[in-house]
């Protein structure tokens, strides 16, 4: 039987504009090559032409499902160059926003994963619940639904509104109840287990060698999480665990994200409980001293690093964003040798986000 060659994408195949070049023989994938770049906007080039603060809305657009972590990595870099300390209250608010962002990003992933596996309820529920987070928490705190440019160098843009604590805790009460239902209908579902267990197995040494990051790495038995390994914001004052599963298959990667939603909810509760009083931002200068900085955070998809070179002017000389989706690209090679029917499972188990990879 001769092999056939075809593309999946670049039309929006459910997870963004991105193409997989697939070579198929019978039912087996012989070769799978990712072809990113369809949504490349050259964020790094444009960033060199704008002032530091103007870059916040630009840079957050590289990953709209997880804006808080992206802007936080950038803000932390500038703060380090300026040599300023961010007030504790702002650090706690940043944790709250980053964890809300993580939950919303994982819900987005879960919905698309559900529909990729033909589970339409799992498409509707997370999108519905994500909207509750958007309207009841993100919009109330930051004033916009998705791209809120809330985390800025020096702190956050506004203080928390009155009554937001009760409101968020109520949302979390509802959500944590929902997670049990997600578990019953999806994660404990025998069909889901059969479609994901043993599929797309990535061993621990390969995961490190390929340089994958985030839940993809933690699904392969490596406890790599910047929140613990190089704590930033207020993470070192909060008590949380890092879920790790060692099988390395699509099921492990899914469970990592599922557990993280629960853990993020607990982090948000603790952050509200311990929220200090005081300022929510400090004044920053527009001119940033000469130097270079490499700051990193744990975004929803993994380690996100920001490398800034400053030449002492109001505009960055160079901004490099090393994004988790780009680093997870080698993970698509897991499709090689698997069956065509497992393609959507492996694809979605990597939680690849084309905007994040292409920048």
């Amino acid at each position: 039987m001769s092999a056939i060659y075809f593309s999946v994408g670049p039309q929006h195949a459910g997870s963004g504009h991105f193409r997989m070049k697939i070579t198929l023989q019978g039912d087996i994938i012989l070769n799978a090559e990712p072809d990113p770049g369809f949504v490349h906007r050259s964020v790094e080039k444009i960033a060199e032409t704008r002032e530091y603060l103007q870059n916040v809305p630009l840079i957050e657009r590289q990953c709209l499902s997880d804006v808080s972590s992206v802007t936080l990595a950038y803000a932390m870099g500038i703060e380090e160059l300026l040599g300023i300390e961010v007030p504790p209250r702002a650090q706690y608010i940043r944790v709250i926003m980053c964890e809300l962002s993580r939950i919303m990003s994982h819900l987005y992933w879960l919905a698309i994963f559900g529909i990729f596996l033909g589970h339409s309820t799992m498409f509707m529920w997370p999108f519905g619940d994500r909207d509750i987070f958007i309207t009841e928490t993100a919009e109330k705190i930051a004033g916009a639904r998705v791209s809120y440019s809330y985390i800025i160098p020096g702190g956050v843009r506004y203080d928390l509104p009155d009554g937001i604590k009760e409101h968020t805790l109520k949302t979390l009460d509802y959500f944590q109840g929902r997670l049990k239902e997600y578990d019953a209908i999806f994660f404990s579902n025998p069909i889901f287990k059969r479609r994901t267990k043993g599929v797309g197995v990535l061993s621990r040494p390969d995961a490190i060698r390929m340089g994958v990051t985030g839940p993809t790495l933690r699904g392969s038995g490596v406890r790599g999480d910047i929140r613990k390994d190089e704590p930033y914001a207020a993470y070192d004052e909060l008590d949380f665990e890092i879920p790790v599963f060692s099988e390395g298959d699509a099921y492990s990667r899914s469970l990592v994200r599922f557990r993280e939603m629960e853990i993020s909810s607990s982090i948000i509760r603790q952050a509200f409980e311990n929220l200090p009083e005081g300022d929510f931002k400090v004044k920053t200068r527009k001119k940033v001293p000469e130097g270079e900085v490499f700051s990193r955070v744990e975004a929803a998809r993994g380690e996100l690093a920001c490398y800034i070179i400053s030449d002492g002017t109001r505009k960055p000389y160079r901004v490099k964003m090393s994004t988790p989706s780009f680093r997870n690209l080698p993970g698509f090679s897991l499709m090689k040798g698997s069956m065509l029917a497992d393609l959507p499972t492996i694809w979605m188990s990597l939680d690849y986000w084309p905007l994040d990879a292409d920048r």
């Binding site: 770049g37 790094e44 080039k45 340089g211 160079r318 090393s322 690209l329």
Partner: protein, 159 residues
């Protein structure tokens, strides 16, 4: 091993060949090496400090100094996670003949990053198996022959 010890050891071992290793802050070291010594030193730091995990590869353009700098960010990934140390390896490259050895033989994961740097800066990575279009449009060469968007002489329309 702390940053000062690493810097001392690198100086002892490589002397002239390694420039001046610099400590930016806690857990951040910058080492500048010439491309002739790159493979030796990269292999040494990987084996000695167990820097098995390449985070990113980037380029910087310095037209006034007639050079590019290729920057590798490296760290250690154990079963228990990242170690906080990040070692930055900088390689100056002549702007007229932008070539440097690929580090794929040492860190497999730099493959996509080097390909991106090749495309956006026009820096050739010798020994890289696949320097092909990655992020830019496939018709880029027809419209912008020999132009590389992240170089400083590539201006945006509103600049």
């Amino acid at each position: 091993m702390n940053e000062a010890q690493i810097i001392d050891e690198l100086r002892d071992k490589f002397g002239e060949r390694i420039g001046t290793p610099e400590r930016l802050r806690q857990h951040r070291i910058v080492v500048t090496v010439e491309k002739e010594n790159l493979l030796d030193i990269a292999k040494f730091v990987k084996d000695t400090y167990d820097l098995n995990y390449a985070i990113s590869v980037s380029g910087i353009d310095y037209p006034e100094q007639n050079k590019f700098v290729v920057v590798y960010h490296l760290c250690t990934m154990s079963e228990e996670g990242h170690l906080p140390l990040v070692l930055t390896l900088k390689v100056p490259v002549n702007r007229q003949t932008p070539r440097t050895p690929s580090l794929i033989s040492i860190w497999k994961s730099v493959e996509w990053h080097e390909r991106e740097t090749w495309e956006l800066f026009g820096i050739e990575f010798e020994g890289h198996p696949k320097l092909e279009r990655l992020l830019l449009h496939e018709d880029w060469d027809e419209e912008f022959p020999n132009q590389f968007p992240l170089r400083k002489d590539f201006l945006l329309e509103d600049e």
